[in-house]
Symmetry: C2
Subunit: 341 residues, 2 copies
C-alpha cells in the first residue's frame, strides 16, 4: 500500500492524504480523521526511501567507529553511549547508522557519508588532543557534535565533562585522607581527556607541594587487563601506592582483581577512586551491582549528546554548543569510606 493507492481508495488526492498524515493544519478535521482511520486500517506506513529523497533529509545520524588497533573504543563505554543516543534518535524519528572503519580511513568514511547524503549529522567520540576529524567535518559542512574536546576546543560543538576539575577533586579527596603515594591509571596519552585528567591530578598534588611519582602513573588503552597488570606491577614493586585513581570502570575492574589477589580490601586496606567518563561518576568501589550507576550515566551522556546533535542539525547556523558537565564525587557506595593513612 502506497500513498497513491491510499488516496485513490479514499477518493482524495495524494496531496491531501499526505497533509492529513503529516499533521498539516489546513486539512478539515473530518477529512483527517477519515484518512487516519484508512491509513491505520491499511497498515499504511510511508516509504522511508521515498520520503528521504523527497525531503532531502536522511533522517539518519552516523556514528563512525574506527577499528584500528589500540585506539579502538572500549566496549562498555561504547555500547552504553550508543544505547543512550539511540533512544533519543528513535524518539525523534532519526535512525542510527553505525559505520565501522576497519582500514583506518576514517576520512574516507566521512567524505563518503557526506557525499552520498546518507546521514544528516555525525557524532564524534573519543577525540585526540589534536584531532583531524574536526577540520574535515567542518570542511564537509557536515553537522557534528563531539563527545569530549580537542585541546583547542573552539569553533565547534562539544559536550564534555570537567576532567581537570574532576581529577583535581578526586586527588584532593585522597590527599585529605593522608595518602601521598597515589597511582594514576590513565587512558592513552593521545586522548584529550587523559591529558586533562593528568593535569587535574598534577594540580592537586602541586597545591600541596607534591608531584606525580613516575612509577605510579600509567597510560594505555582502557582495558581490564591493563588495569590488572599495571596495578599488580605497582603493588608488587617498590614504594607501592596506597590509593588508586582509575580513569575508567573497566580499568578499575582489573585493579580490583589485583587488589583482591593480594588480600587488600577496598575501602579498608586500599582506596580506589574510579572515574567514569561521560556524565561522570567518581567513587571508591567501582559502582554498585553491575556498574549500574556508571552504565546509566554513560547512557545519559549519549542521550544528551544526541539531543544536542539533533538541535544542531535542525539549526546548523546556531552558535556552537559547548557544554561542560561537572562531576559528582560519590564515595563509599558499598564498601564504606576510603581508608586514611
Amino acid at each position: 500500500m502506497n500513498l497513491k493507492q491510499l488516496a485513490d481508495s479514499l477518493n482524495l488526492s495524494q496531496t491531501t492524504v499526505s497533509r492529513a498524515l503529516n499533521g498539516y493544519p489546513e486539512v478539515r478535521e473530518e477529512t483527517r480523521a477519515r484518512v487516519l482511520a484508512a491509513a491505520k486500517a491499511a497498515h499504511y506506513a510511508p516509504n522511508s526511501r521515498a520520503r528521504r529523497l523527497a525531503t532531502g533529509r536522511a533522517m539518519t545520524i552516523g556514528h563512525v567507529i574506527p577499528l584500528t588497533g589500540q585506539t579502538e573504543m572500549v566496549n562498555p563505554i561504547f555500547a552504553d553511549f550508543l544505547i543512550g543516543a539511540g533512544e533519543v534518535y528513535g524518539r525523534e524519528g532519526y535512525d542510527l547508522l553505525l559505520s565501522m572503519v576497519t582500514d583506518g580511513d576514517t576520512e574516507g568514511a566521512f567524505r563518503q557519508l557526506a557525499a552520498n547524503g546518507s546521514v544528516d549529522g555525525i557524532m564524534v567520540q573519543a577525540p585526540q588532543a589534536e584531532d583531524p576529524r574536526i577540520a574535515l567535518l567542518q570542511e564537509l559542512k557536515m553537522p557534528f557534535l563531539v563527545h569530549g574536546r580537542t585541546g583547542d576546543a573552539k569553533g565547534y560543538s562539544w559536550l564534555d565533562i570537567a576532567n581537570v576539575r574532576a581529577f583535581r577533586r578526586a586527588t584532593d579527596f585522597l590527599l585529605d585522607l593522608g595518602h601521598t603515594r597515589i597511582a594514576l591509571i590513565n587512558g592513552q596519552a593521545g586522548f584529550d581527556f587523559a591529558q586533562r585528567r593528568l593535569r587535574g591530578f598534577e594540580e592537586a598534588l602541586a597545591a600541596r607541594g607534591l608531584a606525580p611519582l613516575p612509577h605510579l602513573v600509567a597510560n594505555d588503552a582502557m582495558t581490564e587487563s591493563y588495569g590488572y597488570l599495571s596495578a599488580a606491577a605497582m603493588l608488587d614493586g617498590p614504594e607501592p601506592p596506597t590509593a588508586f585513581l582509575a580513569s575508567s570502570v573497566i580499568i578499575a575492574i582489573g585493579l580490583r582483581r589485583a587488589a583482591g589477589e593480594r588480600g587488600l580490601r577496598l575501602g579498608r586496606d586500599i582506596s580506589i577512586i574510579c572515574h567514569d567518563d561521560e556524565l561522570s561518576y567518581l567513587n571508591n568501589d567501582v559502582g554498585g551491582p553491575d556498574f549500574t550507576a556508571t552504565r546509566s550515566s554513560i547512557r545519559a551522556a549519549g542521550r544528551r549528546c544526541a539531543e544536542n546533535l539533533i538541535a544542531l542539525i535542525h539549526d546548523p547556523e546556531q552558535p556552537p554548543i559547548q557544554e561542560l558537565w561537572d562531576v559528582t564525587l560519590t564515595v563509599g557506595r558499598s564498601t564504606g569510606p576510603c581508608p586514611t593513612i
Copy 2:
C-alpha cells in the same frame, strides 16, 4: 554534483554515465574511463537516497536491541558482535541500522521497519527458547537470521554453537580431573542457550551417575556482579564447589574476583572453565590479556552471521541456512592446567 550534471559535463546521457559507473558491460571502455575519471575529479558520489528509492533496496540491515530490564543485552558481547557484523556490512555496501526499543514494543519496531522499507533484513540476537520474533518476521516476509536458536529450530535460518556438546565436554573435562562439586553459573533460564548448556552439564554428570547440585547452579543476566555474588555465596556456603563452569567471560570476571578475594588461585586452587558464547571459546583462565581471544571470536561470529544474512537477502528463496559451530576447548592459556582433586 549529481548524475545529471556529471553527464552534462561529459556530453553523455545519464544512462550511459550510470552504466559506466555501475560496471555494466555494454559501455565502451574508453567511455567508461572518461566517466570514471570525471567522476573522480568531481568527487562524485551517487546520492544514496535516490539510489535506494530507484532500486527499491534499502542497502541497510537492521539490528534491533530491546532495552527492557533484565533481558537487556550484555555489553561486551553486544558490542563485539556488532563490530564484526558491521565490518562485513561495510565491505558489502550495506549500512547498519541500529534500533533501540525502549518501550518493549519489539513487534512494533519490526512492523515499522518492514512497512517503511528502511531495511532489507534483520539480525536477531539472543533468542528465547520460545521466541515470538521468529513468527512475526516470517509473517512480515522480512529476511532475517538468528544468532542462536529457539527450542524448535526448524524453518528459519540460524547460526549457533553446539551448546550441549560444549558444556558436556567442559563438564567431562572437570570430572576427569576428579571434581565432583562443579558449579554452573548460567545465563537467564528463558534463553535457549542457557537451557542447552544446562542440558550438556546434566548429561555429562548423568553419564557418571551424578546430578547437578541445586545449590551450585545459578541463573541470571550475565553480568560481572552476578558472577561475583553467586560465586561468593557458593564459596562461602556449605559444600563449596571445587570448580566453576561459567557461561560467559563477563560472569567469569566476577567469579575470578570472588576467587581472588578468598586467596584461591586459578588453575591451582580452583578450576574455572569459562565458556564464551558465540564462535566459542572455553578455557580455564578467562582468556589472556584483555580477553582478546574471546572478543575476536565474538566478532568472528558477528561476521559470519552478517555474511549469511546478506546471502539470505540476495536469495530469499534459498533453503534455511542452519549452521552449528563446534567449540574448541582451550585449557591453561596463562595460568597452567586446571587443578585435579
